[in-house]
């Protein structure tokens, strides 16, 4: 009988966790308090920042949604020459992963033109959220 209860608990836990993730994954978050003042530059990323904004995407080989996120971001920055998309292999850049306390892939951080972290998206991002966050950073920059 114990095994039946363990199996039932496993089913409940998976459904609850799966639904929670489906609801919250990829939601845009403002910079958290520990991100305050954190900035990234070309010297850390090995690539020039965009002149108005930069999406920095942390990916890994064992991560299927990273491919989708990569395609999505490539598409988002395609028509915006002032916005850059930099993809970082989390495995080879554990230093950055530790510094930003990144726990899973994909994680996307949105930098403003000064390289300051403005938004964080953990999990597979959605296009409307990305565009919304980008718009916010861009309008802010223009002001």
């Amino acid at each position: 009988m114990t095994g039946f209860y363990v199996a039932a608990v496993a089913v409940v836990v998976s459904v609850a966790f799966g639904l929670y993730r489906a609801l919250t994954d990829g939601r845009i978050r403002g910079a958290r308090r520990r991100d305050a003042g954190l900035r990234l530059g070309a010297e850390q990323l090995g690539q020039e920042l965009g002149s108005s904004a930069t999406f920095v995407q942390f990916s890994s080989a064992v991560c299927a949604p990273c491919r989708t996120a990569s395609r999505l971001l490539t598409d988002v920055v395609k028509d915006a020459p002032a916005v850059a998309h930099i993809e970082v292999d989390a495995e080879t850049r554990l230093d950055l992963v530790e510094q930003l306390n990144i726990t899973r892939t994909p994680t996307v951080v949105l930098l403003d033109r000064h390289g300051v972290i403005r938004h964080r998206i953990v999990g597979a991002p959605r296009k409307p959220d990305l565009l919304g966050a980008l718009h916010e950073v861009l309008t802010d920059t223009a002001a």
Partner: protein, 161 residues
């Protein structure tokens, strides 16, 4: 740095294969739990461990449930809309293998608590995978790397069939 993939990217696979396999795995693990410690659970768990082991160590092409999908199910379906990198599902097989081995140790050493916890976690992972197409590697790999602070990459070799 715009592309994180190593130079040798393994051949992409039909993503429905691993999900189909995870569904079978879920049923097998649930039956193992319900049977409880005993000969029946031992035999099923050995079979499941071998399945995980083949998928993890040899590659997804050798995973028995994947073979069932490829031989019997896929011919009846339309071609996949998108192909997927085999490394994420292979990592999931490795995680499953670790849980299954822990469960086996629990059975053999007569530690029922270990058996129930290990198989229970394996069932959660398999259900998340099959029902929600959940990416286990996305969550565990980086945490594991950060915790261990050394390369786990050799568990998931870059080149495979």
């Amino acid at each position: 740095m715009s592309s994180p993939q190593p130079t040798s990217v393994p051949k992409p696979i039909d993503p429905r294969g691993p999900r189909f396999g995870a569904a079978i795995t879920s049923v097998v693990l649930a039956v193992i739990l319900i049977l409880g410690p005993g000969l029946g659970a031992l035999i099923l768990l050995i079979i499941q461990t071998i399945a995980f082991g083949l998928g993890s160590v040899v590659g997804l092409a050798a995973q028995p449930y994947g073979l069932v999908y490829f031989r019997l199910v896929r011919p009846r379906l339309s071609p996949p809309s998108e192909l997927e990198d085999p490394r994420p599902p292979r990592f999931a097989q490795t995680v499953g293998l670790i849980f299954a081995l822990a469960g086996l140790i629990g059975l053999v050493a007569q530690l029922p608590v270990l058996f129930y916890i290990a198989v229970g976690f394996a069932l959660v992972a398999a259900l998340l995978n099959s029902v929600f197409n959940y990416c286990l590697g996305c969550e565990l790999y980086l945490l594991g790397r950060r915790a261990l602070g050394r390369p786990l990459a050799r568990i998931v070799p870059a080149n495979q069939s």
